[in-house]
């Protein structure tokens, strides 16, 4: 075993033997996400940032394998040189952003609805269990149904099932052509159009709607072969944004540096396609209306009840500086929580890893 893995193994096994808890971290840029960490010294850090580097990259097989501590910037620069990309467009919250953090949080960017979630691109993982032993699930091939898909289970698990040490990802070619259109539309009309495009062959790769004085503005990014994008531009109409401005705009959304994201508290609401306006305060829409960023003080239970009725979920995304007794994530149905709790008990029987990060009670 590599020396750095042996060190992790010793720390993990030691913590388990002593009954200590470990919270896993890489660059520390995404610790805001999830239940707040305790302010006492009831846990110790398992810092994976030293375990870094791209292990394998085969552009013609569309597969990249890297260690958890590898900076996302390094991975995306490498892909860019081969004309490839991470299709889920992960946000970057700082220079320290790592692949491990990206997988643990499972957060995807503007391309999410067109490309699918982060988990759709995870082909294999290495996971350390409580006695320090390393397990390998999935692999480096696109199609693999041997055993249960633990790799996809680990995406978004916030470390509660153990540290993900290495990840194999499916990567995609960058689109040959990309154009951003801007349409002046109010919220209802923007939502209506976004839904219509679902059943049409228009290569929409991202949308964003923001309110303004006269109603609102819908930005639509089209990506694909030059001819498909050209046809899409003709069908959609609107003004074409110049490439540099468009690039900066989508980066601002991806990395959440757009002014909208500075507001607190910031709620992250996901809804089925075609869900109507929530009508409760200032909203920023992405993902063809399926992601709504919401600001303002809302009573968590009432907001969640409203959102659930529409088939969606509401989480308190940015909660720093606000105090609230309600859970950060929208609590799933009791039966679903029970299964998740049993899964946690089975895979981390001693409760070593990242307790309470996903749910306050386990």
């Amino acid at each position: 075993m590599e020396p750095v893995l042996s060190r992790f193994g010793e720390q993990v096994a030691g913590a388990r033997a002593a009954g200590r808890k470990l919270v896993i971290r890489g660059g520390g840029t995404r610790l805001f996400y999830g239940e707040p960490l305790p302010e006492d010294d009831s846990f110790e850090w398992l810092d994976l940032s030293a375990y870094r580097g791209v292990v394998a990259y085969e552009p013609s097989e569309l597969v990249l394998t890297a260690r958890a501590g590898t900076p996302l910037a390094e991975i995306e620069a490498l892909l860019d040189r081969e004309g490839q990309m991470l299709a889920f467009e992960p946000p970057r919250f700082g220079a320290g952003d790592t692949l491990g953090g990206c997988i643990a949080t499972g957060l995807a960017g503007p391309r999410r609805l067109a490309a699918g979630p982060v988990s759709d691109y995870v082909l294999g993982t290495r996971l350390m269990r409580g006695d320090g032993e390393v397990m390998h699930f999935g692999g480096e091939v696109m199609k693999n149904v041997a055993g249960y898909d633990l790799s996809r289970l680990l995406v978004g698990s916030l470390g509660v099932l153990g540290p993900v040490l290495e990840v194999s990802l499916k990567v995609m070619p960058k689109p040959r052509s990309e154009v951003t259109l801007v349409l002046a539309l109010d919220e209802a009309e923007a939502l209506r159009r976004c839904v219509q495009w679902r059943s049409q062959p228009i290569p929409v790769s991202a949308t964003a709607w923001l309110p303004d004085g006269s109603g609102g503005q819908l930005s639509v990014r089209l990506s694909g072969n030059a001819s498909a994008v050209r046809e899409g531009v003709e069908k959609l109409g609107g003004g074409v944004l110049d490439a540099a401005t468009a690039c900066a705009f989508w980066l601002g959304l991806r990395d959440q540096t757009h002014d909208f994201f500075n507001q607190r508290p910031l709620w992250r609401v996901t809804l089925p396609p075609g869900a109507p306006s929530l009508g409760i305060g200032r909203e920023l829409h992405e993902w063809q209306g399926c992601l709504r960023w919401l600001t303002g003080m809302h009573a968590p239970d009432a907001l969640r009840a409203k959102v659930r009725k529409l088939g969606g979920w509401a989480s308190r995304y940015r909660h720093d500086g606000t105090s609230d007794a309600s859970p950060v994530f929208h609590p799933p149905a009791p039966a679903v929580i029970r299964v998740q709790q049993r899964l946690k008990q089975q895979l981390d029987p001693d409760g070593v890893f990242s307790p309470h990060r996903l749910y306050p009670d386990f």
Partner: protein
């Protein structure tokens, strides 16, 4: 928590010793809950369920139950738990890995009566269907709206969406459009512990652990699906296919590499070796080049303009990769003819050989030439012929081993040949199953691909969903003893196995 304690007790009990099924009690319980027409217990009724698409393994089930709705299904599963009766879930029975092979002391629960499309929302491009709905029936229902359901396993006219979910079924278009796991948005599942859970849903990013994608491909071992929410896609305006011949398998592999490296993700990318071509051409008369060492089929779909742009690019790439002949389908009829041979490969095998064994492994594509070369050597070792069709874009191989079950020893030789193929796939960094599942067929090879710790993690997941271990027992996850026994046999790899020692 009361239920937690009960579950722990049940788990401990299951771990100690398997409890003998109380069949009489079970039959009485389901007799009270279900109409008698839903319970098949006479030998002539249960005969049809003795195997799935992997006909090598047969076991006539003592009873088959066909519940009509979720309430009845829950009643049957409750009775199974109360009376310790193992359950084998079954969709359309087209599994190629024995996933629906019955348990000698268990009940087969078929979802044939869960055959309704509950919702088809053309505007939002979403459908909610029951698990017994056939894969193709979803696309047929969506067709009037210009939509379809993308995954198209070759059994799509017969296979059920519930079975597709259990196996994470693929198809020839999955490089571009993904597998079942990429096209299912939500599941309603009755877990082995008896809970009804809604996983995923129409809204993206359901909170908590990703149970949805964990359940896809879990081979009926975690729960039984009662509803599937799928996304539909706009049907492409046009599809055209480029057919290219190559003087060697390496050259064809190189062409695939160039196509993908050039940033093209074809709708389909299939390779047939010369044996497969010679097997199918007399049968379908597709006009395949019989002199080619390998043929590549590369499909492009989308809007008319988009397809023309991409086809031009692919033609040029094929030529620079050394294709000896390149043809582009000029009409829909010609496109279908080019595909006919690939789609008929299994039927053609059945025509010239009394039996065939379809394997399913995935390899990193760079090892293609080495792997196919090794298969040729294995043909000599096992004294059986093998032809190859290959989902070239994603590295998924389907070697077809031809044999005659009536010849003494040939079944065993075919199985040993198959096992050797899968072990080679693992050796080069691939997997023992790309899309057919483990079932009972590949349970020994699981010992080759996974360590004990990894198999223990699978068992832990199973316990979380199915504490009593009643759903599809004895499949997918081999026991320690089984791996130890297989390990012994493993030492003799390369020799002809002793036909008098049954492997199963």
């Amino acid at each position: 928590m009361k239920s937690g304690v009960a579950l722990e007790a049940a788990t401990a009990q299951a771990a100690k010793a398997p409890v003998t099924p109380d069949f009489a009690g079970f039959l009485a319980a389901i007799g009270r809950a279900l109409p008698s027409a839903c319970i098949l217990a006479r030998a002539e009724q249960t005969r049809a369920y003795e195997c799935d698409g992997l006909t090598m393994y047969r076991e006539q089930p003592p009873v088959v139950v066909l519940p009509e709705d979720e309430t009845q299904l829950i009643a049957v599963l409750n009775a199974c738990r109360a009376h310790h009766v193992p359950v084998v879930p079954r969709g359309a029975g087209t599994s190629l890995s024995g996933g629906a092979t019955p348990h000698p002391q268990g009940v087969v629960i078929g979802v044939a009566k869960f055959n309704r499309i509950l919702k088809l929302d053309p505007e939002r491009a979403i459908a909610v269907v029951q698990p017994g709905v056939r894969n193709l029936a979803i696309s047929e229902a969506a067709a009037p709206h210009g939509l379809y359901y993308a995954p198209d396993p070759s059994s799509q006219i017969a296979c059920s969406i519930g079975g597709n979910v259990a196996e994470n079924a693929g198809g020839v278009h999955c490089l571009k459009y993904g597998l079942t796991v990429h096209n299912v948005l939500g599941l309603r599942v009755v877990t082995g512990a008896g809970e009804v859970v809604e996983l995923g849903g129409e809204a993206p990013d359901a909170p908590g652990l990703n149970l949805l994608q964990l359940c896809v491909g879990s081979e009926g071992m975690l729960g039984m699906v009662t509803e599937v929410t799928v996304k539909l896609l706009p049907r492409p305006e046009l599809a055209r296919v480029v057919m290219a011949s190559f003087a060697s398998v390496e050259r064809a592999g190189e062409a695939v590499t160039r196509i993908i490296a050039a940033g093209v993700i074809p709708a389909g990318l299939e390779l047939m070796d010369q044996r497969a071509v010679k097997l199918v051409e007399p049968f379908v008369q597709a006009g395949y080049d019989l002199d080619a060492a390998a043929i590549l089929l590369c499909e492009s779909d989308g809007t008319t303009e988009e397809v023309c742009e991409e086809i031009g690019r692919v033609e040029a790439l094929m030529a620079t990769a050394g294709a000896t002949r390149v043809q582009v389908s000029a009409s829909e009829a010609e496109r279908l003819r080019f595909w006919a041979g690939r789609k008929a490969a299994f039927a053609a095998a059945g025509r010239i050989s009394p039996d065939y064994y379809c394997m399913d492994g995935t390899i990193p594509r760079r090892h293609l030439a080495r792997v196919l070369g090794a298969f040729e050597e294995m043909e000599a070792t096992y004294g059986l012929a093998c032809s190859n069709v290959f989902h070239a874009g994603d590295g998924n191989l389907h070697p077809l081993i031809l044999f005659d079950a009536n010849q003494p020893g040939e079944v065993e030789r075919a199985q040993a040949f198959g096992a050797a193929i899968l072990e080679l796939c693992v050796e080069v960094g691939g997997t023992i199953t790309g899309e057919h599942g483990v079932g009972i067929e590949k349970i020994n090879e699981m010992c080759v691909q996974f360590t004990r710790a990894e198999l223990d993690a699978f068992a832990a997941v199973k316990r979380a969903f199915d504490p009593q271990g009643l759903l599809n027992p004895l499949k997918v996850i081999p026991t320690l003893a089984r791996c130890a026994e297989y390990g012994k046999q493993h030492v003799h790899r390369g020799e002809l196995p002793f036909p008098d020692i049954p492997r199963f």
